[in-house]
């Protein structure tokens, strides 16, 4: 540290214990330890799966362990009181450090020491004096030109008492603010996350093709009303030949007072935002709309056919029984555990009244119901599905702060690492033998070895001036 550098803010005065707490909060040791503790704690949550239903944990752990972990908050550890306490301590630590350094950084940006005086000269390691046979103004011209390459902008010139002038160049003064940028940005991100969790919500909604919703269910299980309606015009899923998903897209409309105000096709990676609420393509599915059911006799002749709207009990023409398509599964599990594909759960109401019999009919295996026995079995002749799109719905008023903080953080780190506040002093005068004498010295608050090389080069070129 050179004489030109501001000294770290002096130890806080006042009652001893306040000073002790302040010194604890502003110490770099605390930062290092806190950052390492946070990283060590974070590991736990990647090893223990988080936020699963409690009964799932019993499959992996002893009941006693589950009780203990649950009590310690290890199943939702990133929201546990001790993790949040560590984050709060970090926020406090950053706040205290920023306050502690504020004066020093501001002082460092002030123009001081415009003159290469004796005290300053002593502190500069690269102080060099060069003498020329040229007249003073010729040296000045060349010098300003050379220094101007590294330090654009006009130098501050002060006339020296004993003749000649002092020149003060500086560059990158504002890079000192990088400290505030990096550290305050973290507080801004924290603030954004807090605002999001208190004033935002994450929800979920399924919308059938052609239907409109105006409410979503939040993760917390509450119903959230929207100030507008969302309509799903169509949903499409496309697949590669290998069966891998290629594209999911929903054509959505936003309606206000029954009028369409926005229409957009959303995909994964391309959501729709309206009035601060964002809709993300998240899942999809189908529910039977109409099921054509056939009653077949053992010999294979069709006894009757009906097209049943889902969930309604209907007569089968020519038969005494009634049927209802009541349930649907996209991936039906056969009794042997294998996958049976799409299946419709049908209730068959006996002709003489009484409780219905429930059977599963497989779409891909029409003869599946035959094994039930009896002289009539049922099969699905046609299945019309009503598709729905599954949307994640978010409102996060804090998000903008998170991105603002992120940008500040990146910019601040870049500036902190790759820029520095450089100062250059040059004095010109005529020495007692009538020669022009130039004295030069400089400092940088960071990357000092790179600066030393730059200075060396500049001094070399100054020496070559003739």
């Amino acid at each position: 540290m050179s004489a030109d550098e501001p000294v770290k803010t002096a130890k806080t005065e006042g009652t001893d214990w306040i000073a002790t707490i302040w010194n604890f909060l502003t110490s770099l040791k605390l930062v290092v330890i806190l950052l390492l503790i946070l990283s060590a704690l974070s590991i736990a949550g990647t090893v223990i799966e988080q936020n699963k239903p409690l009964q799932e944990y019993y499959r992996y752990y002893q009941p006693g362990t589950v009780a203990l972990f649950s009590k310690l908050g290890l199943f939702d550890m990133y929201h546990s009181w001790w993790f949040v306490a560590c984050l709060s301590l970090l926020a406090l630590n950053i706040t205290a450090c920023t306050m502690d350094r504020y004066r020093g950084i501001m002082a460092g940006m002030r123009k001081r020491n415009l003159i290469l005086d004796e005290k300053l000269s002593k502190s500069l390691q690269n102080l060099t004096t060069i003498r020329y046979a040229l007249p003073l103004d010729a040296v000045e011209k060349k010098m300003v030109e050379l220094a101007g390459k590294e330090f654009p902008g006009k130098p501050v010139v002060t006339a020296a008492e004993e003749g000649g002038s002092h020149y003060f160049f500086e560059k990158g003064k504002y890079s000192r603010l990088a400290f505030f940028m990096t550290h305050l940005s973290i507080l801004i991100i924290f603030l954004g996350a807090l605002i999001g969790s208190f004033f935002g919500y994450k929800g979920y909604v399924n919308i059938f093709e052609g239907e409109t919703v105006s409410q979503v269910e939040t993760r917390a299980g509450k119903i959230q009303n929207l100030n507008f309606q969302v309509k799903c015009n169509t949903f499409n899923a496309e697949f590669y030949a290998s069966g891998m998903p290629m594209d999911y897209r929903s054509d959505l409309s936003i309606l206000q007072n029954g009028k369409e105000v926005v229409r957009k096709t959303i995909r994964v990676n391309d959501p729709l935002t309206f009035e601060g609420v964002t809709f993300y393509q998240s899942s999809y599915g189908g529910q039977p709309d109409q099921v054509a059911i056939e009653a077949v006799s053992r010999d294979g002749s069709v006894k009757g056919t009906v097209t049943a709207p889902f969930g309604r009990v209907v007569d089968i023409p020519g038969m005494a029984e009634e049927v209802e398509a009541a349930d649907y599964q996209e991936h039906f599990h056969l009794p042997d555990g294998s996958e049976g594909g799409r299946a419709v759960g049908v209730n068959i109401y006996p002709a003489k009244g009484g409780a219905p019999a429930g059977v599963w009919l497989l779409v891909n295996d029409p003869e599946y119901d035959k094994r039930r026995g009896g002289d009539t079995y049922f099969r699905v002749r046609d299945l019309k599905l009503k598709k729905y799109t599954g949307l994640q719905v978010n409102r996060d008023p804090g998000e903008i702060l998170v991105w603002l903080g992120s940008i500040l953080l990146i910019a601040g780190i870049m500036i902190a690492f790759f820029m520095s506040h450089k100062k250059l002093w040059i004095s010109l005068r005529t020495d007692n033998k009538g020669r022009s004498e130039l004295t030069i010295g400089g400092t940088a608050n960071k990357n000092r070895d790179a600066f030393a090389r730059e200075m060396e080069q500049m001094i070399q070129s100054l020496k070559e001036v003739s």
């Binding site: 770099l28 040791k29 930062v31 290092v32 950052l35 390492l36 946070l38 990283s39 974070s42 590991i43 949550g45 990647t46 090893v47 988080q50 990133y78 996350a193 994450k202 590669y240 290998s242 891998m244 998903p245 290629m246 594209d247 999911y248 995909r267 994964v268 990676n269 391309d270 959501p271 964002t278 993300y280 393509q281 998240s282 994640q392 978010n394 998000e399 998170v402 991105w403 992120s406 940008i407 953080l409 990146i410 780190i413 870049m414 690492f417 070895d449």
Partner: protein, 282 residues
């Protein structure tokens, strides 16, 4: 496929470069050193062609995507960034002697990549994003910088040890290496390159997750591990500001940081589960 052939040649050239770097350290001939650096550069050139070719071939197949999306491709890209970063630093800091300890990585990474399936698969919807490239590239250049710092830090520990044992032994093997304070400085500077890149990688990743899934941070294992890595290097940077934490302790933190990096990159996929799925076989 032409790209596979080119990747194969690149692997071989990296192997050759590794042998040369080790010979350079053993025989201390400047000539060998120059050839070693040139071969590493040759490996980079061939691999650049391989990556470009793979990109081009994906378009020919009608898939058309950046070659950065499965384990094979990410390892190959990691080897590439590693070699590039190392060559840049070798030039900048004149640390060719470190090469023997660092140059084996591109070969080893490529050899490991070769164990993984390398067919060009189309992308699932979540990966179709312009954020993919900026996210992956910044993370991986950051990782490569950390890897170089790791190599240099290990060397620092040996070198500092040898300086302690025999402060003035001239002509010993260790004298050929940069001084311990030089290694300490290089270890720091490489992290100063990696840290901003990792920060960009995490932020672009969060932004992408927000666009794709509607949450910028969900504490999934991959995200959390990238945060762990970030916290360790942040601790490193602050530790270095305090007196007494340079040198040995800083080197150890750099080594721990890189161990966490490797776990974040490979361990999470192989051992833990999460959204970032390219470690699984399918």
């Amino acid at each position: 496929m032409t790209n596979s052939l080119l990747f194969g040649i690149a692997t071989f050239v990296y192997f050759f470069a590794m042998v040369l770097y080790v010979s350079y350290l053993a025989f201390r001939s400047e000539m060998l050193g120059k050839v070693a650096s040139r071969s590493m550069l040759g490996g980079v050139v061939v691999e650049t062609a391989a990556i470009g070719m793979r990109w081009y071939e994906s378009y020919q197949m009608g898939i058309g995507r950046a070659p950065l999306t499965n384990l094979y491709e990410s390892l190959a890209f990691f080897a590439w960034t590693f070699a590039v970063i190392y060559l840049v630093l070798e030039r900048k800091f004149k640390i060719r002697t470190v090469g023997a300890f660092v140059a084996p990585f591109p070969f080893l990474i490529m050899a490991y990549a070769a164990l993984n399936p390398n067919d060009i698969q189309p992308l699932v919807p979540a990966l179709k994003s312009n954020w993919l490239i900026s996210h992956v590239v910044s993370c991986f250049v950051g990782y490569a910088a950390f890897a170089v710092s790791f190599g240099v830090s290990i060397l620092y520990l040996f070198k500092a040890g040898s300086e302690k044992r025999s402060p003035k032994s001239a002509g010993s093997f260790w004298d050929f290496l940069p001084s311990s304070s030089g290694l300490d400085e290089i270890g720091y500077k490489t992290i100063a390159i990696g840290f901003p890149l990792l920060t960009i990688g995490i932020v672009t990743g969060a932004f992408w997750a927000n666009v794709a899934w509607g949450t910028y941070w969900s504490w999934d294992p991959k995200e959390t591990w990238s945060l762990i890595v970030w916290l360790i290097y942040a601790a490193y940077l602050h530790a270095r500001i305090t007196r007494g934490w340079r040198g040995k302790r800083a080197a150890i933190l750099s080594i721990v940081g890189f161990a966490a990096t490797i776990f974040c990159y490979l361990g999470v996929n192989l051992i833990l589960s999460g959204l970032h799925s390219y470690g699984s076989a399918s």
